[in-house]
């Protein structure tokens, strides 16, 4: 127990302010404040991998690490689309996932936000449209915000999520 506590203590708080694209530092809790102002509570996200290579998922996972501390900023990943305000969708949407994505979308209560993640989610990326791929997410469900990148960095994801909330 003692080494464990010592490690927690030594690690300290690592959370960084999210840096704006322009290079300016945004106040650490602005994101949190904006989410609370708009939604009145935490933002809940259901992540749907509709065909990615898993690279985008690695960066979405990173959002949960202490540096980005997404949960500390009032954003929570949930297990069911029924509990979600937002769908965060990666992949080119494979034909084999097309129906599942539609079902997840229909299960998400209105008003819902959809963020398409990665070059693949935005435009089909390197995989494009084919017999097996529907390409961009918005070929299957309506998309509010696109976050390009292969994969997009955690900061780009954070900004994409925030701009979707602002649009709502």
């Amino acid at each position: 127990m003692i080494p464990l506590l010592k490690r927690i203590f030594r690690t300290g708080i690592l959370t960084e302010p999210p840096v704006e694209r322009s290079g300016e530092m945004a106040p650490i809790d602005r994101l949190h404040d904006e989410i609370i102002a708009i939604l009145g509570r935490a933002l809940t996200i259901r992540e749907v991998d509709a065909g990615s290579c898993n690279g985008c998922e690695l960066e979405i996972h990173a959002l949960n690490n202490a540096y980005y501390n997404i949960e500390g900023r009032g954003i929570k990943f949930v297990a069911s689309p029924r509990h979600a305000d937002m769908l965060l969708v990666t992949g080119p949407v494979t034909k084999n996932m097309e129906n599942a994505l539609r079902i997840a979308y229909d299960c998400t209560p209105d008003p819902k936000l959809v963020v398409a993640v990665g070059d693949c989610g935005c435009n089909g990326g390197i995989f494009g449209d084919s017999y097996a791929s529907c390409g961009a997410v918005d070929n299957v469900v309506a998309v509010d915000i696109r976050v390009p990148g292969c994969p997009p960095t955690p900061l780009a994801l954070l900004h994409g999520i925030l701009s979707a909330v602002k649009r709502a």
Binding site: L4, A50, N54, L58, F77, I126, A132
Partner: protein
């Protein structure tokens, strides 16, 4: 050269990759006999795919990669254009089951006997429409094929009190899609049947007609967490096909990237495994270390996962002495951090209670299922393509590094955790050794494509053995590329590992393997 005194004559593939021998089976019987002999000598079925050669005046061709003690044998079997039927190898190597079904779905090569259910084809295209045949007509203009729900025949299990729990394709966490069908009695898992293919996005068809450079970008995006392993295996295939040898410096830098990729994934998994056993501290600590690690990747290699860092002919960019020093310094920090965390993991009774005796597979099963990588080493098998074995010489630069393969014969989650810890330390040692002895030389040379040439690359990725087979067309573009993920073989092992355990242990067992969906669904 002959193996096991079987009649197939082999010739060695030239080049600097892992040792590969090519041979040709005269008929199906010849192939089956060789497969039986490989099996008898504890060899593995490493990959299997099909190819349409009718445009070249042939019929179809089946490619089988068998892993022997000495290295990999690449055996081809030519099949007639009018009736391409192969013997069913799944009776010899159970790992053949899904690969054969995928080969049938993609190329239309039939297998005489065995499981005839589709694998990659769900309901998105017709049964007699084969994506990898050259004369397959384009899908209907604009609308494409109707995407029909498929009625997949799961194996039914009866018995009193038995019921089914279907899970997926979308899972509760942030992970890739796939379907798991559990049959349980109470909490106990009686049977697990997987149904995958949800990530199938037409990768193999996409390769056709690409230049070597375009193919390199695509291969690095088949399985994001293993982008370096795939890019390296592909590069070896391209370089051997085109008779080009990258410099010692380029090979050293590739190994540096591959070991960094291994460590990044192990750190993430060690954290997630702690978390799945309700020890969130582990996740927080390991994810912080992983983030530091990825940030240095971004600074030095220009990308957090080093995508497109390894290219045919070498690596995309050189790194300077300052960067090498930074890498060394980071290794020193990580050694101390991971040692401290390992002590905490080892002494945490709650964690050990969840890890020990959970999700067991033994060495016999690992051999039977042709496993490679962590999954095999955590049953005590000393299989590591980077390490010397009695008859096996690892490729440059590993031959000179004396890699010590991690191993633990318990076969449970605890063993897979221990192997990951050991591999983190070994890779840290390797990185420092590589950084300290990096020869000078060009980091990238030209790879002029040789029309019609073929090559095979095998790389020990963090999860297991990644294989890429490549053939160029008359213009030097890609005629066929087949990437093979180690998950093909390890997924069925997961079906065995959960037996006797309870449903709530599944996420932990699953994570201890952390298999790729996209890599095997293509």
């Amino acid at each position: 050269m002959l193996f096991h005194a079987e009649p197939i004559e082999f010739t060695a593939q030239e080049g600097v990759g892992a040792p590969v021998w090519r041979g040709r089976a005269v008929d199906g019987e010849d192939l089956s006999r060789f497969a039986v002999s490989v099996h008898r000598h504890d060899g593995r079925l490493a990959a299997l795919w099909g190819e349409d050669l009718r445009r070249q005046g042939g019929g179809y061709r089946l490619h089988c990669i068998f892993a022997l003690e000495e290295g990999h044998t690449w055996v081809c079997l030519d099949l007639p254009a009018d009736d391409p039927v192969c013997p069913d190898l799944a009776g010899i190597f159970p790992a053949a089951n899904r690969m054969q079904r995928a080969t049938r779905d993609m190329v239309g090569i039939a297998f005489a006997g065995g499981d005839q259910r589709p694998w990659l084809r769900h309901g998105a295209w017709p049964e007699d429409w084969y994506p990898l045949r050259h004369d397959t007509p384009a899908p209907p203009e604009g609308i494409g094929f109707a995407n029909l729900p498929s009625d997949y025949q799961f194996v039914q299990v009866g018995g009193e009190g038995a019921h089914e729990i279907p899970v997926g394709p979308i899972h509760a966490g942030i992970i890739e899609p796939g379907h798991f069908r559990f049959t349980v009695v109470g909490e106990r898992v009686l049977r697990l049947e997987q149904r995958l293919g949800y990530q199938h996005k037409g990768v193999e068809k996409r390769f056709i007609g690409m230049t070597l450079a375009e193919g390199s970008r695509l291969v690095g995006r088949i399985c994001g967490d293993s982008t370096c392993a795939y890019a390296w295996a592909y590069a070896v295939a391209a370089e051997t096909a085109c008779a080009v040898e990258p410099s010692g410096r380029a090979l050293g830098l590739r190994a540096l990237m591959l070991e960094r990729e291994r460590i990044a994934n192990h750190l993430g998994d060690l954290g997630a495994l702690g978390n799945d056993a309700a020890f969130a501290f582990g996740l927080t600590q390991f994810m912080r270390l992983k983030e530091d690690w990825l940030r240095l990747n971004a600074r030095i290699f220009g990308h957090r996962f080093m995508m497109d860092g390894i290219v045919p002919g070498g690596v995309a960019a050189d790194i300077d002495a300052l960067a090498l020093a930074e890498i060394g310094a980071q290794c020193n920090v990580l050694v101390a951090e991971v040692k401290a965390l390992r002590a905490i993991y080892d002494e945490h009774p709650g964690l050990q209670d969840r890890f020990l005796t959970t999700g067991i597979i033994d060495a016999d099963l690992a051999r039977e299922l042709s496993l490679s990588g962590i999954a095999a080493r955590a049953t005590g098998l000393l299989l590591d393509g980077r390490a010397w074995r009695s008859d096996y010489e690892p490729p440059v630069p590993y031959a000179g590094l004396g890699v010590r393969p991690a191993s633990d014969d318990r076969g449970d989650v605890a063993a897979r955790v221990a192997v990951r810890f050991d591999e983190v330390f070994e890779s840290l040692r390797l990185i420092r050794a590589i950084a300290g002895t990096l020869p000078s030389g060009p980091v990238r040379i030209d790879v002029p494509p040789t029309p019609g040439a073929e090559g095979l690359g095998v790389v020990e990725g963090w999860r297991g053995e990644v294989i890429v087979g490549l053939r160029l067309d008359g213009e030097g573009r890609i005629a066929r590329a087949h990437p093979h993920d180690p998950s093909w073989q390890i997924w069925p092992a997961l079906e065995h590992a959960v037996l006797k355990d309870i449903v709530p242990d599944f996420p932990l067992i699953n994570k201890s393997f952390n298999l790729s969906y996209s890599g095997a669904d293509l």
